[in-house]
Each structure stands twice: as structure tokens, then as C-alpha cells.
């Protein structure tokens, strides 16, 4: 019982310090990270979905499907956080606004359309290379969030850690496929 009381007291103390106006729970870097990772994840989902109708190693299809569902969870979480912060889900489309984040990852190049149009004989290699670059782009966003002058929100920073770890591990698998 005494332990419980101590735990509650610590919890309350934690809540108190987080709720005061002088300690914002998020900053502009957090908002930008989420606003940039949402479309990055969505484009990644579009890319991995293209693998469903193609002849690819079973292991690669399993990885693609897991990327799709885990990134969808992240998108849902991120949208929820932005709503909670009363921040728009979509970003300021002025590219200059994102210079500090290494510029816009969503380049004009039509990655999805190019892959979709690729003949079967070329699809596998192109799929690996496009998806690898896409996932490493997410790592770059996450490194910015967790770097100097990055975000302050604990949830967003933990997401960034998970993005760095998971995408690096995905890339490790992608680079080991022989197509």
C-alpha cells in the first residue's frame, strides 16, 4: 500500500510538471517530424502493396506485409497525436520550411508509378532499391527528430527511435535479398 501511494505521488508529480504552460509537451520539430513521416509512411505503404501481385520470394512478401501494417499503426498514432495537439495532419507545403529536415523526401519523382509500370523481370530489383531508399529516408527524418535541435515530445522521440531501429533492420533484410 505504501509503495502504491509513492507510485501515485510520483505519477501526480509527473503529470503536474508536464501540464504547466512553461513546459510544452511538443515543439515545432515534433510537429514537422510527424507531418513529414505520415506521407513518408503512406508512400512506403503504397510501395509495399505493389509486391502483392508480383512474383517475389515469400520472405520478401512477408516483410512487405509487416511493413504495411506496422507503418499504418504509426500513421494512425501520429494523426492522433497531431489532433491532440490541435496541429494539422498535413505539412506546410513550402519546401523552405523543411530545409532543416533535409528537404522534402517526397520528391517529384513518381516512385510508385514507375514501379507499377515495371515489367516482372525488372520489378524485384527496382522494388528493393526504391523501398530501401524510402525506408532510409524515414531514418533521416527520425535522426533529425532525435538530434540536436530536434523534438521534445517523449512519444514522438520514442517513435523516432523505433523508426531508426526498425527501418535499419528492414534495410538489412532488403539488402540481403538476391534478385
Amino acid at each position: 500500500m505504501r509503495l502504491l501511494l509513492v507510485a501515485v505521488a510520483l505519477l501526480l508529480a509527473g503529470c503536474g510538471s508536464g501540464a504547466t504552460a512553461s513546459a510544452p509537451s511538443y515543439n515545432a520539430a515534433d510537429v514537422m517530424f510527424l507531418q513529414m513521416l505520415i506521407p513518408q509512411n503512406q508512400q512506403g505503404i503504397e510501395i509495399v502493396r505493389l509486391s502483392k501481385d508480383r512474383a517475389l520470394p515469400a520472405d520478401l512478401k512477408v516483410l512487405a506485409a509487416a511493413i504495411e501494417s506496422t507503418q499504418q499503426t504509426e500513421v494512425d498514432d501520429m494523426k492522433g497525436w497531431l489532433r491532440g495537439w490541435n496541429q494539422p495532419e498535413t505539412m506546410d507545403m513550402n519546401p523552405q520550411a523543411h530545409a532543416g529536415h533535409g528537404g522534402m523526401k517526397m520528391a517529384a519523382t513518381d516512385l510508385v508509378g514507375t514501379l507499377e509500370a515495371a515489367p516482372d523481370a525488372e520489378f524485384g530489383r527496382k522494388f528493393l532499391d526504391v523501398l530501401t531508399g524510402q525506408q532510409q529516408g524515414a531514418v533521416e527524418l527520425a535522426q533529425t527528430e532525435n538530434g540536436t535541435n530536434g523534438g521534445v515530445n517523449a512519444q514522438a522521440r520514442d517513435l523516432a527511435r523505433r523508426v531508426i531501429e526498425s527501418r535499419s533492420a528492414e534495410v538489412k533484410q532488403l539488402l540481403n535479398f538476391k534478385l
Partner: protein
């Protein structure tokens, strides 16, 4: 901000900073590209085929330096491993015509791509100061070369003074010459299918383990709770069960 809060923030920063240095590579997030196949040295590092590569495993696309260099690491101290000829770099067996495939995280306008063997430029492919398309591959004729060869590929950016460097180790031709004595055979590298758990994963206690392949219905424990697998996958750091409700259902 009160003084107390400032002190707290400073203390938190002091506590967190060393951790972050270990876990996260210091980076100036701007972005880039490298050769994925035949695997460049940074690709082999990111694929886990070469041990002790340092931070390059998180950003194989970031080997960026001024134009005109002839080094595998663009002269960057933090990527010195790439220029270490004593490392067991695997060399892919190829014929005399080789197709090099690129990965990009940012499509910088390109002046050209150069391929060197030693001091000889074996290919120069124009980029026309355009953004690269979705995928880029170059077929290069290496007739006249055989045995173990190190190709230095350079992506020259047209709107900056910089270039991106990828060294690709190749074994050209069937029998060929034996590899130099400094290079142990690539059979000594562990098979890529077994993914060792990354050291950054916090030990949470439980049976869940990164690198393990799970099928629907498998049950694991993690952080004191039990989870049932909803979707087949190979577990990786960052996909811990509490964070991936699409993969795991808490029991």
C-alpha cells in the same frame, strides 16, 4: 522557465546525452545515395555482412564529400571503416559486363556518374543536370579486367560542390586470379538469414526476440505481458509487441 526547471532540464540533458550519442549517429540530415548491387562496402555493412562498420550501417547513403576524391569513405573520419582494406569485404562474382544499381533517399540533380578502377575511369555516364529517375542502373563494360577488383563509383551532384562515393568489390570472371592474401574468403561471414539482435534493443525480459521468425498463433512474453502473433513476420528491434498491435495481440 523557473531555475528549478532549468536545472532539471539540464540534468535530464546530461543524463540523456551520452545515451543518445551511443544509440543515434550524429548526423546532418541531408540525403543521398549509394550502390546496392553488386553490394558496395556501405551496403555490405548495412546488410550485416561485415562486422564493426560503425555508424555507416544507419546511413549507407551518406558517404558525401567534395568532388574529385578517390577514397571509399569520402575522407570522412566517421566512415573510416569503408577505406580499411584489411576488413573482409565480400566480392561478388561477376562477368565482364556489370550492372550497378543505385539506392537514393534524395534525388539531387546530377552532373554525372563516374566509375574508376585504380586511376582509370572505366565509365562516365551523364546525368544532364537532371534529378535521377525512380531507379538508376548503369551497365559498365569491364573487359580487360579479371580477378578481384575494387570499383570506385562517384555520383557527382550538379548543384553542390559535393559527390557521393561507393566502393564496390568484385570478383571478375570465372576462375580468375586468387584474391589477395589480405582478403579472407567471404565464407567466414555469418549467413545473412540469421539476424543477430541489435545491441540497441533494451532487454525487456521475455521470450520475444529480434531476429526470430514468428507465425500466426505464436505466443511470446514481453515486459511481463503475454502476446499472440496476428501476422507472420521476422521480429526486429522497433517492432516490440506493445508497439505493434497489428502484429501482436495482448493476451
Amino acid at each position: 522557465m523557473t531555475l528549478k526547471r532549468k536545472l532539471f532540464a539540464a540534468a535530464a540533458g546530461a543524463i540523456l546525452a551520452p545515451v543518445l550519442v551511443v544509440v543515434l549517429p550524429a548526423t546532418s540530415a541531408s540525403a543521398h545515395g549509394y550502390i546496392s548491387d553488386p553490394p558496395s562496402r556501405q551496403a555490405n555493412c548495412a546488410a550485416g555482412k561485415v562486422p564493426d562498420c560503425g555508424n555507416i550501417i544507419y546511413e549507407p547513403q551518406s558517404v558525401e564529400g567534395p568532388k574529385g576524391l578517390r577514397s571509399c569513405n569520402a575522407g570522412l573520419g566517421q566512415f573510416a571503416q569503408l577505406a580499411d582494406e584489411s576488413k573482409p569485404w565480400p566480392a561478388k562474382s561477376v562477368g565482364t559486363t556489370v550492372t550497378f544499381n543505385w539506392v537514393f533517399t534524395a534525388r539531387h540533380a546530377t552532373s554525372n556518374y563516374e566509375y574508376y578502377i585504380g586511376n582509370t575511369r572505366v565509365a562516365d555516364i551523364p546525368g544532364n543536370n537532371q534529378q535521377p529517375p525512380a531507379t538508376v542502373s548503369h551497365t559498365v563494360n569491364l573487359a580487360g579486367y579479371s580477378g578481384r577488383v575494387k570499383v570506385l563509383a562517384i555520383w557527382n551532384i550538379s548543384d553542390t560542390a559535393n559527390a557521393f562515393y561507393s566502393c564496390v568489390d568484385l570478383q571478375i570472371g570465372g576462375g580468375g586470379t586468387p584474391p589477395p592474401t589480405t582478403t579472407p574468403p567471404p565464407t567466414t561471414t555469418p549467413p545473412p538469414t540469421t539476424t543477430p539482435p541489435p545491441t540497441t534493443t533494451p532487454p525487456a525480459g521475455g521470450t520475444w526476440a529480434a531476429g526470430k521468425a514468428y507465425k500466426v498463433g505464436d505466443v511470446v512474453t514481453y515486459g511481463g505481458a503475454s502476446y499472440r502473433c496476428l501476422q507472420a513476420h521476422t521480429a526486429i528491434a522497433g517492432w516490440e509487441p506493445p508497439n505493434t498491435p497489428a502484429l501482436w495481440q495482448r493476451q
